[in-house]
Amino acid sequence: MGHERVGTLPKSKSWRNIVGLMSSGSVGGTRTNDFDSAAIASATLEQVRHRFQRLQQDEATRVTFVFLVQVAVAARSIENDIDLRRLTLDFSSNITPLKLARALQKQVATTSDFPEYAAIAQSAGIDALAQWYDTNKPQQVGLFASFDNSYSTWHQVSTGTGFCELSRLFFANLLRRYLNYFLDREASRVIPSLIERDRFRDHMEAHIEDVSQHAFETSKIVQSYSAGWFNRYAVKGMPSQQEIDGFLSYGFGKMHNELTREPIKR
């Protein structure tokens, strides 16, 4: 009981170069320079370029994103006429992030592609919902709010702006989790001190946050694209499969470009 299988990265030169980026700059446990999180993220994504495409096209990724759209559509009105039975969601009762998480887990469990991708996509979707709720709930209201508070909070996700932020969080968390899927295996092995290890995590998270913010907010094109997309395709019901795929392709492409181009200036 309590066993953990400790993974490592492959021994190939290209992977070792990435590991080298994580450990470089450390002399006797003290860092002489900051982690180059942009270079590490970019090199890792380049190393798994084709795999990352598979993740984007994985059934569980699509199911998770569709779920987020369904939440946004369902939250538009308590008396909406969307068939939510499949979602097992009912916004006329108090909806907590955990209830949504459970509903998403049930949907992802029906997918049959690759369990590794399903775990990452599902976690990213739940992260997005929990973080979105935490940020948008009224101050002084705990997570276990009354129905009125809960509904008024979720209702905000049904606007173009609300949906844009929810989808940004999804893409950012998916990227963070996918990168960590690789980097977590070696970071504690090669970064000597505990403080540096935490700092590495903080740097990577800050970088991905910057990238996603840049892709979705600084870039007015994506912001207006996602809000416009939502307002156009999700006003009266769920967008079609083709429209969903189009949005996913656009969002992933934008994030990928941001991550692999020149470092973000903070």
């Binding site: 009981m1 309590g2 066993h3 598979r54 709720y133 290890r197």
Partner: protein
């Protein structure tokens, strides 16, 4: 599609079932025939010591014999099929599809679709595989185990008993000790024997020690009450291709269930602490049971569901230590004054790699690391540490990369637990919490999450204490720690401290202080803050945090994060403080929990006259002297009273530092 991107399938025939008839679509390299019986056409490749086990019990009903065979075949197949390399780019080989065809005795029962579905739900989650599909065929028989293998000779019913899983680890040891001490029941201990001599030896030696008369407790009758039943199952003739054996817990619990059912009980008991049961992933790649979920609430619920079907009546799997941490487990053993047994228990999952006189524990697997920090947190390091670890990460260089990962990520996760507010815990762990809360009976979502948060905080605080103790014990200003030892990992010091990372560790770091008070007492709080300013300048206390609870703000919100990190907690007591539901019920309660666990010291500062002596904190040493309120006539001025308070706090801080 490359192998890296395909899900492995295994079609397994058991007890001579016709594989091709059931799975004509299977490919030759996907077929596996498992056999434990002698005298059949297929050579034996699995050891299932069913006749011996039946011999110990005299008789088992056909359905129970079927069950023991099924769980053994599942375990055998699990060990037989490789789950991929640890350094694969992505771990697509980890999750496999299993299709079993099993010939059974009680076909009418096993062929029910809901039984196969219950098996699938249980095993898929427990092991992190894609699915376990079962088809059954009738006609299986085995010879009588011996002359007494008939119903009338079956083991006698004994409802004044408990059936307990017994691995020889710390948690099961603590469970047995508590049961011996607190009940008069007979204890039927159950073990799986996989052919590892070290494990068998550990269990036997520990049991022998448990059975020895305890002169301080002459009425225990341990030798008479403790019975041990073992069931052997292992691959035969070849080394296991897969070491992780995630289905072993099913085998373990099934043995206990069969015995429990036979003697007329409706439950089995699994002693495992909650932190290990929840096993929150410490790294992103630890999904799909790569961090075990043997006693996860969902596993326990699935086991209960399945065993209820097999027994034909409600059957429970009890986990009494679910709200304990590993440190709590050690403290419970210490409270029973049985420190002497701790070193004889074995927590290590890599005992097979520890040879000769190197020690009984590898020292670096997740179980060893958890045990080590818990020992220090419980203050038992001088009693039980001696030489049991092959690698001592406190004094030796850790050359093994897996070990470095395990140690660092264990401490980092514990630190994260201490810094998360309730909201932060919920937001960061929503994915895992959704899977847990659904299976915690008798608790709504809110209660469940708050309790889980407190458990994780308690664990984090205990690890924090362990790290502080280790740091102080190994911090010699005239020597440098060995590179890659744990003290070396703590360099750039004060890990787990919130601020001032450059502070010299030779001196004690400044202690963090927290105020809890009612808004009505704000001016008095300011007076107290002035009195403490000198202690802050002298870096005796680092800074303070307070929580201003305003009128009408009695919402049940987030507990201030600093309440969970401060070493000294000051309760500024007045009638308004006592009347505030938030101050009294939430913050004071949490403060007292931390005080009782040794994670903080709580000091009531009596500001105004009130009936504080009947409060929960009345047992604590209050300030000013004799709890005379600051505003009472006992003091000439409030300055005089606050000076006494400041001196008292200085003394408390010094005691706190010396204690660490």
């Amino acid at each position: 599609m490359s192998n890296d991107f395909s899900i492995a399938r295994s079609f397994v025939a058991c007890n001579g079932a016709d594989l091709m008839a059931h799975f004509p679509q299977s490919m030759p390299n996907e077929r596996l025939i498992l056999e434990y019986r002698d005298g059949v056409a297929i050579p034996r490749n699995l050891n299932i010591h069913l006749p011996k086990f039946v011999g110990d019990l005299n008789y088992l009903p056909p359905r129970m014999l079927d069950l023991l065979e099924i769980v053994s075949y599942v375990y055998g197949a699990d060990r037989h099929t490789y789950r991929g390399s640890k350094n694969d780019v992505e771990y697509h080989q980890w999750s496999r599809e299993y299709h079993f065809a099993v010939r059974v005795r009680d076909y009418n029962f096993w062929q029910q679709p809901n039984v196969a579905e219950a098996l699938n739900n249980l095993l898929s989650f427990l092991s992190g595989n894609v699915c376990f599909r079962f088809v059954f065929e009738p006609g299986h028989t085995t010879p009588q185990a011996n002359l007494f293998d008939t119903k009338e000779f079956a083991l006698a019913r004994n409802t004044n008993a408990h059936v307990i899983l017994y691995s020889g680890g710390l948690d099961s040891l603590a469970g047995v000790l508590e049961e011996l001490d607190h009940t008069d029941r007979d204890l039927y201990l159950v073990s799986h024997r996989s052919g590892q001599p070290a494990t068998s030896k550990t269990q036997d030696c520990l049991l022998e020690a448990l059975r020895r008369p305890d002169h301080t407790r002459p009425n225990l009758r341990a030798a008479e009450r403790l019975k041990h039943y073992c069931f052997g199952c292992s691959l035969k003739g070849e080394r296991a291709r897969e070491e992780t054996q995630r289905t072993r817990f099913f085998l373990y619990t099934a043995i206990a269930f069969v015995l429990s059912d036979l003697i007329g009980l409706d439950a089995i008991t699994v002693y495992e602490n909650g932190i290990t049961s929840l096993n929150f992933p410490k790294r992103q790649d630890l999904v799909h049971s790569r961090a075990t979920r043997t006693t996860h609430p969902r596993t326990i619920a699935a086991l209960q569901n399945f065993f209820t079907m097999v027994a034909g009546r409600t059957f429970r799997v009890e986990t009494p230590f679910f709200w304990y941490t590993k440190t709590d487990i050690l403290q419970s053993i210490a409270n029973l004054n049985r420190h002497d047994l701790i070193s004889s228990s074995v927590s290590c999952s890599k005992t097979f790699k520890v040879g000769g006189n190197a020690g009984t524990h590898c020292g670096g697997c997740s179980q060893c690391v958890d045990r080590r920090f818990a020992t220090w947190a419980a203050g038992l390091q001088n009693n039980v540490e001696g030489g049991i670890y092959a690698t001592d990460f406190l004094t030796e260089r850790v050359t093994d990369g897996d070990m470095r990962t395990t140690i660092k990520d264990y401490v980092r996760q514990a630190k994260d637990f201490t810094t998360h507010s309730l909201d932060g815990f919920y937001t960061n762990r929503a994915n895992e919490l959704a899977e847990i809360c659904e299976y915690l009976d008798d608790m709504n979502e809110e209660e469940a999450i708050e309790r889980l948060w407190k458990l994780s905080q308690q664990h984090g605080e205990q690890v924090k204490i362990a790290v502080e103790r280790i740091r102080v014990a190994h911090d010699d200003p005239f020597t440098t720690p060995k590179i890659d030892s744990f003290p070396d990992m703590l360099r750039q010091r004060n890990y787990l401290k919130e601020e001032d990372m450059t502070e010299d560790i030779i001196n004690h770091p400044a202690v963090e202080v927290f105020f809890s008070y009612s808004h009505v007492d704000e001016s008095l709080r300011d007076e107290l803050a002035k009195s403490l300013k000198l202690l802050e300048r002298q870096k005796i206390i680092s800074r303070w945090h307070d929580r201003r609870i305003g009128a009408g703000q009695e919402w049940k919100g987030e507990i201030d994060v600093h309440l969970n990190s401060a070493a000294i907690i000051l309760l500024l007591v007045s009638a308004d403080f006592l009347n505030s539901d938030y101050c009294y019920d939430v913050e004071m309660k949490r403060a007292m929990e931390r005080h009782d666990s040794g994670a903080a010291r709580v000091i009531p500062v009596i500001l105004r006259e009130c009936d504080w002596q009947i409060g929960d904190f009345a047992k604590l040493q209050a300030l000013p002297t004799d709890g005379k309120a600051v505003t009472s006539r006992h003091w000439h001025t409030s300055d005089e009273a606050f000076t006494v308070v400041a001196k008292g706090i200085r003394t408390a801080v010094e005691e706190w530092c010396n204690r660490i």
